[in-house]
């Protein structure tokens, strides 16, 4: 068990593991995304109401899911850093923040593109969209705070605390479509209940989500390695 957890605690072990798994995770991620997007964009049936415009779900939904999941990931690493002083905690948090920021931006942007044909507007101050926009601001704020301190230890501690408090926004985003009457539709896929999407549309979506997950994980490995190099230089 100790050997299994060692890469998560020791920087040296982490780099070795990172280099070993990065190419496989990246390639498999790209492979799955390609399958998901090609089948979703070209072979999935046309939606009876929305026509072809619904196909943006293969980009928007995975991005929106990971914009929130990445924040949970950051919160777990921040917690582990503050409580157990796990050295790579801040590194993982910041690497994930860069990716989370990008993913949240794409989720907002693709949502806006989808909004024009379906809602007739590219932006609406609706609870789901606004809370996601706040999440985007939080990612930017975390990166700004982390980059504002010369003392790395101080920067890491402050970033970890802010990340942990920011978790409050994630259930708000998740539940916003249930708590308020929003223009944004409620969740169509859920682990607890049956999906309201037809299987022929759902399968490519699930593959896209898995593929994007692996791709982002690989991206995280790359970013964390680059950050480690930067730390070594400074």
């Amino acid at each position: 068990m100790r050997n299994l957890l060692l890469p998560l605690v020791s920087v040296k072990e982490y780099i070795a593991l990172n280099q070993k798994i990065y190419p496989f995770v990246m390639l498999f991620g790209i492979f799955l995304i390609s399958i998901g997007w090609i089948t979703g964009l070209f072979f999935a049936p046309v939606d009876a109401i929305q026509g072809h415009s619904y196909r943006i779900i293969y980009i928007h939904v995975p991005m929106a899911i990971f914009s929130q999941l990445i924040y949970w990931f950051m919160a777990i690493w921040s917690f582990s850093f503050l409580v157990w002083k796990i050295k790579i905690g801040p590194l993982m948090t910041i690497s994930a923040a860069y990716i989370g920021c990008m993913v949240t931006f794409i989720a907002l942007f693709s949502g806006s593109i989808w909004g024009i044909p379906t809602w007739g507007t590219w932006w609406q101050w609706d609870a789901r969209i606004t809370s996601t926009f706040i999440l985007f601001i939080m990612y930017v704020a975390l990166l700004t705070v982390n980059g504002s301190f010369q003392n790395t230890y101080k920067a890491d501690q402050i970033t970890a605390w802010i990340t942990l408090i920011g978790v409050i926004n994630i259930p708000i985003i998740k539940k916003s479509v249930d708590w308020w009457s929003t223009l944004h539709q409620p969740a169509s896929i859920s682990l607890a209940s049956e999906s309201s999407i037809d299987l022929s549309m759902l399968i490519p979506l699930v593959i896209s989500i898995l593929g994007l997950g692996l791709f982002l994980f690989a991206l995280g490995l790359k970013v964390s390695r680059l950050l480690l190099l930067k730390y070594e230089e400074t």
Binding site: I134, V145, S148, F149, K154, Q157, W161, I162, G166, I172
Partner: protein, 211 residues
């Protein structure tokens, strides 16, 4: 000298935010037709923005002076609790800034015809939401000690959104006492939680700055 006295003698820190709040609330009807129904409908939004603005103006320098003149270091070296000191500071700000502002907000709500009754409920709601904002921005101020206020505001502004949401619901339901009272209880709970959590976190961050 306790924190209340210290704040009382620093007039700029407590009178300034109160005056700015009054100025903003006076300026807002002037920008509209004063007989317009828009006065009532836009009052809530202006109030929330004014409260947010006052909270970060008032808490901007809450720790600066003590940090720069070495009071915090002396305090720690004497073996006293920084958490307690921060809590005292928060209480002083609640008393000298949040309380007068909640009374002023009540007066403006009456003047603009937004409320007809529920005076105590309105003033309490404004007081609680202002204490939440003050706690949050004071934490931001602790983060950005010697880095300028902007950094602190950017990093903590998103945390004020749940309070804004609850406060909005509270104001929307002001005419229905039962529902409004439930939201007031929620605001009170959030206020107590944010007081304790952000006071503790601020003391941790200040200690970190001193290390």
């Amino acid at each position: 000298m306790n924190e209340f006295q210290k704040l009382f003698y620093k007039t700029r820190n407590w009178l300034g935010p109160n005056l700015i709040f009054v100025m903003v609330m006076i300026a807002f009807p002037l920008s509209l037709n004063i007989y317009s129904a828009e006065l009532e409908t836009s009052f809530e939004s202006i109030l929330v923005i004014a409260l947010l603005m006052i909270a970060f103006i008032s808490s901007e320098g809450i720790f600066n002076e003590d940090f720069l003149d070495g009071s915090f270091e002396m305090f720690i070296s004497e073996g006293r609790s920084l958490f307690q000191l921060v809590m005292e500071k928060f209480c002083a700000y609640y008393f000298m800034v949040s309380l007068p502002i909640s009374l002023a907000a009540l007066a403006f709500a009456l003047a603009n015809g937004v409320i007809k009754d529920n005076y105590l409920l309105t003033a309490s709601g404004v007081f609680f939401v202002n204490t939440i904002f003050t706690s949050i921005f004071a934490f931001g101020s602790a983060i950005s000690l010697n880095k300028g206020a902007i950094l602190g505001i950017i990093s903590v502004l998103p945390f004020s959104m749940p309070a804004v949401i609850v406060f909005g619901r509270f104001l929307d339901n002001l005419s229905v006492s039962n529902i409004s009272f439930s939201f007031l209880e929620l605001l009170a709970g959030l206020s107590i939680m944010s007081f304790l959590i952000f006071a503790w976190l601020s003391s941790k961050i200040i200690k970190l700055h001193l290390e």
